[in-house]
Amino acid sequence: MYRSIIAALVLATAVVPTARAQDASGALTVQLSGLEPQGAVMIQIFASETAYAAGQAASAQRVVVDGATEEARFEGLAPGQYAVRLFHDVNGDGRFNTNPFGIPTEPFAFSNNARGTFGPASWSQAAFALNAGENTQAIAVGGGQ
């Protein structure tokens, strides 16, 4: 039941550039909170349901975690529907770690603070409208326990 999210977060390293809007492009600030100050957060953004399902990120960033809150900024995005997913690589090994039964042992999160049921949040849960100009997603990482 956890396999899909592992596959999604581990295998999706490919970044597919989106067509950049000449004008009126949008910027997305991802505000992260609830972080344990170590390791790094790996953030991916997706520009369509198909790309989200296929793990083809429009853009990705690695943010080193020094404090309980961090920020990442994505620029030059065409307005439209987007979704963010991320995991906190707490031990800094560059991988989304799981326990021997395949259950994630590192925090993961999605835009809208969406949570799936025994797996990743769906596109419809995580998708949000990105408009021209400034946009913000505030995401609590590992906000569960």
Binding site: V90, N99, P100, F101, I103, T105, R115, G116, T117, G144
Partner: protein
């Protein structure tokens, strides 16, 4: 009861259905035991001594765990096993007893209290659509047993981590993995503690099982995953001085469906397999077979010098209790399933296995924990069905002793508590809890293991009627 039913009909007629589940619960003889405990638990309060007197030298605390919260208005848990873990303490000192209780402060409970509805899926509960579950520990009810380790009280579930609590205040400390890469691994409510303090436990996921070995202070020594070849429901197991015994019953999780209990199938035509592993080398295995039966609990195990392994278990013909009664008891009385029969499984060195039936019935088998894994005679069981009795079996002599509580008493697990300065099994008290339905009160009963048919030596009655629990542990003063 009639009045209650009429009231209910009246309430339904005016559309006040939210009142229904609580009213239904009281229709069942189990009803009082599956009502919500107070949201903040019970402040410590003196219990009233209603019979006998406290034996001198009985000093310590009985900690018990069990589901204690079942419903928010019409939003109800679907199965007894899914209620929030409610930890009770019965502290005995200076001839007095005090009762207190507190819920384990789990993520599941915090979110459900906030939303005032049952949100999460469980063993027999569907949960709401889109319930936020990222880890088994997100639905950890911490509701099945307790143990003391490293100065902490651990509230145990079986699908995830122990929940650490303060044994004095019953405040929740939280979940802390044994090792980062082993977070959210299952840890059953039936750890086995060797006389030297070392702790063994297992946790099942599909047909794979993790075998935990912890030091007496609760620190991880070793963890290994093995494949047991069957997705059998695995609630309890057994350990001898040299072997780990994993019973694989023919109630098998063979469909992924919600709730989980509906994914199990009873295969009455298949054997009850018993996997025996060498404690020092898990690849060194033997398998035994007995005819199909269902069990929740083992007592304990030991082995003779010729290699014969014996362990007691409470055996039923099928899984009816867990698939039917443990769900319907939360809504209405649908009739009770017969109690399990205490039996001794004997695994011979030549590979044969046999089951010796005791003729006495009950559940929650307990033994003298100082003899974990070692030869012993006695096992005590509680019968909460046809009759309310405590039964004590002596496997060496074949004789049994019992005490009947009479009508209106739900008897729960009783633990062996050694008398100070004594080492014999019979030189123990049996300390446990009943729910007295007539008095609407939880009671602590203390028996002398040498003569339980003489009745309790002391009974203390609480001012609270607490929910029924599953398992407990004793911490001597």
């Amino acid at each position: 009861m009639i009045a209650r039913r009429e009231l209910l009909a009246g309430a339904a007629a005016v559309g006040a259905l939210a009142a229904a589940p609580a009213a239904f619960a009281s229709e069942s003889p189990w009803g009082l035991g599956v009502e919500n405990a107070p949201v903040d638990g019970y402040a410590p309060a003196a219990m009233r001594r209603v019979h006998g007197r406290a034996p001198s030298g009985l000093e310590g605390s009985l900690y018990r765990n069990g589901p204690g919260w079942f419903r928010y208005g019409s939003s109800s848990t679907g199965h007894w096993f899914d209620g929030d873990g409610f930890i009770q303490r019965f502290a005995i000192a200076d001839g007095q007893a005090r009762h207190s209780g507190k819920f384990a402060d789990t993520l599941k409970r915090r979110i459900e209290q906030q939303r005032q509805e049952i949100v999460f899926p469980g063993f027999g509960t569907r949960g709401v659509r889109g319930a936020p579950v990222q880890s088994p520990d997100d639905i950890n009810a911490a509701n099945t047993s307790v143990m003391i380790a490293g100065g902490e009280l651990w509230a145990l579930w079986e699908g995830g981590s122990p929940t650490r609590m303060n044994p004095e205040t019953l405040d929740t400390i939280g979940i802390r993995p044994f090792r980062e890469d082993l977070a959210a691994m299952p840890f059953t409510a039936h750890p086995k503690v060797e006389p030297n303090g070392r702790i063994w436990n297992i946790g099942a996921y599909g047909q794979r099982v993790i075998i935990w070995r912890l030091a007496a202070n609760g620190v991880l020594e070793d963890a290994q995953v093995i494949d047991v070849g069957s997705r059998s429901y695995l609630h309890d197991w057994a350990v001898t001085e040299r072997h780990l015994i994993i019973p694989l019953q023919p109630w098998v999780h063979d469909r992924m469906t919600a709730p989980m209990v509906d994914g199990y199938t009873w295969h009455g035509d298949q054997p009850f397999r018993i996997l025996v592993l060498d404690k020092n080398d898990y690849s060194n295995r033997r398998t035994y077979e007995l005819p199909a039966m269902f069990y929740f609990h083992t007592g304990d195990a030991w082995e003779d010098s010729d290699g014969t392994i014996r362990f007691d278990l409470c055996a039923s013909p099928n899984a009816h209790f867990v698939t039917e009664q443990a769900r319907t008891m939360l809504q209405q009385d649908s009739g009770e399933t017969p109690s399990a029969e205490l039996a001794l499984a004997v695994l011979h060195p030549d590979g044969r296995a046999e089951l010796q039936r005791s003729g006495i019935h009950g559940e929650f088998p307990q033994t003298d924990r100082r003899r974990q894994g070692l030869a012993r005679d006695l096992v005590v069981i509680a019968n909460d069905r046809e009759v309310s009795t405590l039964g004590l079996m002596n496997w060496r002599t074949g004789a049994s002793d019992s005490y009947s509580f009479g009508a209106g008493q739900m008897v729960q697990e009783h633990l062996f508590v050694p008398k100070p300065g004594a080492s014999g099994e019979r030189e123990s008290w049996l300390v446990g809890v009943t729910l007295n339905e007539r008095e609407r009160a939880t009671e602590v009963h203390v028996f002398d293991a040498a003569s339980i048919s003489d009745g309790p030596v002391v009974i203390w009655r609480s001012r609270y009627a607490a929910p029924l629990g599953f398992h407990g542990t004793w911490r001597g003063a």
